[in-house]
């Protein structure tokens, strides 16, 4: 490896980083417990003398993780407000966003040897928007199944329209379950892209979610988002 001069860019606030890892733990927990709720295979209790409320416990873990997940979004929002580097939405209102997306896509399709340097490239940004959309659907459908235990509760009043809109609560389960799998598919792609970026560019992609910094050789095209001069 030849030595190249690099610069450190501070990007992610601690709030975003903590949020990120809590989200990882929550999504994995939610996914595993969710599958178990749907298909309670091989539960420990096989005779009625057992006092373990296995199914109840698994559901409680799912719900606990769900509430933690929702609560931790406060950190995400706080980081978004105080730190420019946390603002990861795709900048679809800027014309160059599209040409840059195409360029990055061509690189990922292995048609271009490299793409212009970014702190956060436009395709990645779009995938995060997609993830948040899916998480939003999960939260909406999840609470729509959770709260109507008491239809007159505040939660029941707020969320029960979801079941009507989807054409029945059974459909809500269906959507919740499909989107759970789509999130896992995202996770696989996301982890790969991070590892790949580290391998291809060596810009500290993976460690950035722990340290908050990325180390780039070239000046990234979206640097003006975090630094007003230049």
């Amino acid at each position: 490896m030849k030595e190249v001069p690099r610069r450190i860019y501070y990007l992610f606030s601690p709030f975003l980083r903590i949020f990120h890892w809590v989200m990882v733990a929550c999504i994995l927990t939610l996914f595993v417990t969710g599958l178990f709720i749907t298909k309670p295979v091989g539960l420990l209790a096989t005779d009625p003398t057992s006092t373990m409320l296995t199914m109840d416990m698994i559901r409680s873990i799912h719900f606990l993780a769900a509430f933690i997940f929702c609560a931790v979004f406060i950190l995400r929002i706080y980081g978004f407000i105080v730190n420019k580097g946390d603002r990861l939405f795709p900048r679809v209102w800027e014309g160059h966003f599209y040409s840059e997306t195409i360029e990055v896509a061509l690189h990922y399709m292995l048609l271009k040897p490299s793409h212009a340097p970014f702190l956060r490239n436009p395709l990645a940004r779009m995938s995060y928007a997609g993830l948040y959309a899916m998480v939003f659907v999960e939260i909406l459908t999840g609470f729509a199944m959770y709260f109507p235990t008491n239809m007159n509760s505040i939660g029941g009043t707020i969320f029960s329209w979801v079941n009507i809109a989807l054409g029945g609560e059974f459909m809500t389960h269906l959507v919740h379950h499909y989107v759970a799998w789509f999130i896992i598919v995202f996770v696989i792609g996301h982890v790969y892209m991070v590892v790949r970026a580290d391998f291809m560019e060596g810009e500290g992609e993976a460690s950035s979610m722990i340290s908050g910094i990325k180390i780039l050789e070239h000046v990234p095209k979206d640097v003006n988002e975090i630094e007003s001069r230049e």
Binding site: P40, D56, L110, P113, M145, M151, G189, Y192, F199
Partner: protein, 365 residues
């Protein structure tokens, strides 16, 4: 009948005792899901309010809702029909028939315009101008629209009337649909179920009759006092669910021991009805108690959610969700590995190119 009688008037005329009247009112109060504090108001209403005129129409259906209604025990269906409401027209329960009967319907509509309660069982057939369901020589949809115009309130009995019913199942050849789009802006109570529980049917109509207004409704237009709970949350097998004890087939030890029917496709977790708490036929039983998983008969579109014996993940229009999901995940996994391998080659090429460029520069210098 010009001065319209109240319930108390009817009891007086028939020589039924005050004691029976009060007992009847107490039963009504309980059955309507009201607290006993409301008893005096019920008595007052029953003394003063004229019996509500009811027109009961039957559309695209099996009349199973009537079968259920007839089995109401408290109050007895006969009491409701003969003493508590003024039933002017019903296809199934009336002695009359033919043209005089239809003429009587017309008469009732005019005489009590804006006052009568319209109870509707059965769906509306909308295809080909509604010819797949004819009553009294006319498409049912026309009769419904005509009668609904003068109604004070409309009660939709059964899942047919609320959302189309079995005949609306895919591919819905007769274009069946619920009645809500055909009654204008009249206040509507949805009483779904295939059929609804007998006491729920009588309870709703008595509420409208005595208080002259609709019972409190949820977002789906269903009376909260009867559809406010999930079967799953009122099911006596719920402790087995929480413990993770499930019947796996209809004849295994779990099924004999009365364990939860979740794995046999029970729709209790998404079905709102009173089967779990009121049960059927004076609390005798309900499907789950009889060992059959709930099929969710009070849910819109339950007929298209077959097979009833399967829940997720096996259930679903596209097949087993977990298999589809795992397939997608594996495909993505294979995809990223392949992409990774190609990327390695790409990187090597890029480095070679960079190296070549670098060497060229060196040479030029």
């Amino acid at each position: 009948m010009d001065k319209r009688e109240s319930m108390w008037d009817v009891y007086l005329r028939k020589g039924i005792s005050r004691r029976s009247f009060l007992k009847g009112c107490a039963a009504l109060t309980a059955m309507m899901g009201l607290s006993t504090d409301m008893l005096s108001e019920v008595v007052e209403a029953a003394e003063a309010k004229p019996l509500p005129v009811v027109i009961w129409l039957h559309g695209h259906e099996c009349t199973g809702c009537d079968e259920s209604f007839l089995r109401s025990a408290s109050p007895l269906a006969s009491d409701v029909v003969l003493n508590n409401i003024d039933l002017e027209y019903s296809h199934v329960l009336s002695a009359g028939s033919g043209e005089p009967f239809e003429a009587h319907l017309e008469e009732t509509i005019q005489k009590y315009a804006g006052q009568y309660i319209l109870a509707v069982e059965g769906a509306v057939s909308t295809k080909d101008n509604g010819i797949y369901c004819m009553t009294g020589g006319k498409p049912f949809v026309q009769t419904l629209q005509r009668v609904a115009k003068g109604a004070a309130a409309v009660i939709a009995y059964g899942t047919c009337a609320t959302s189309g019913g079995i005949q609306a199942a895919n591919p819905n050849p007769t274009g069946s649909s619920g009645i809500s789009h055909f009654i204008g802006d009249k206040p509507l109570v949805n009483v779904p179920g295939c059929p609804p529980i007998p006491e729920v049917m009588t309870g709703v109509i008595m509420h409208v009759a005595l208080f002259g207004k609709l019972p409190p409704l949820d977002g789906d237009g269903r009376p909260k006092q009867f559809y406010g709970n999930r079967i799953h949350d009122t099911c006596y097998r719920r402790p087995f669910f929480d413990a993770g004890l499930f019947a796996e087939s209809y004849d295994d030890k779990g099924s004999k021991a009365g364990w939860c029917l979740y794995k046999l496709g029970c729709r209790g977790p998404e079905t709102y009805n009173s089967c779990g708490n009121m049960r059927w036929y004076q609390g005798m039983s309900y499907p789950i108690q009889s060992g059959a998983p709930c099929i969710g008969c009070s849910n819109a579109h339950f007929w298209d959610e077959a097979p009833f014996s399967k829940r997720l993940p096996e259930y679903g229009p596209l097949g087993d969700i977990d298999k589809i999901g795992a397939g997608l995940a594996v495909a993505t996994g294979v995809g990223v590995v392949a992409h990774g391998a190609l990327s390695t080659i790409q990187k090597k090429k890029r480095q070679e190119a960079e190296q070549a460029e670098h060497d060229e520069k060196q040479v030029k210098k």
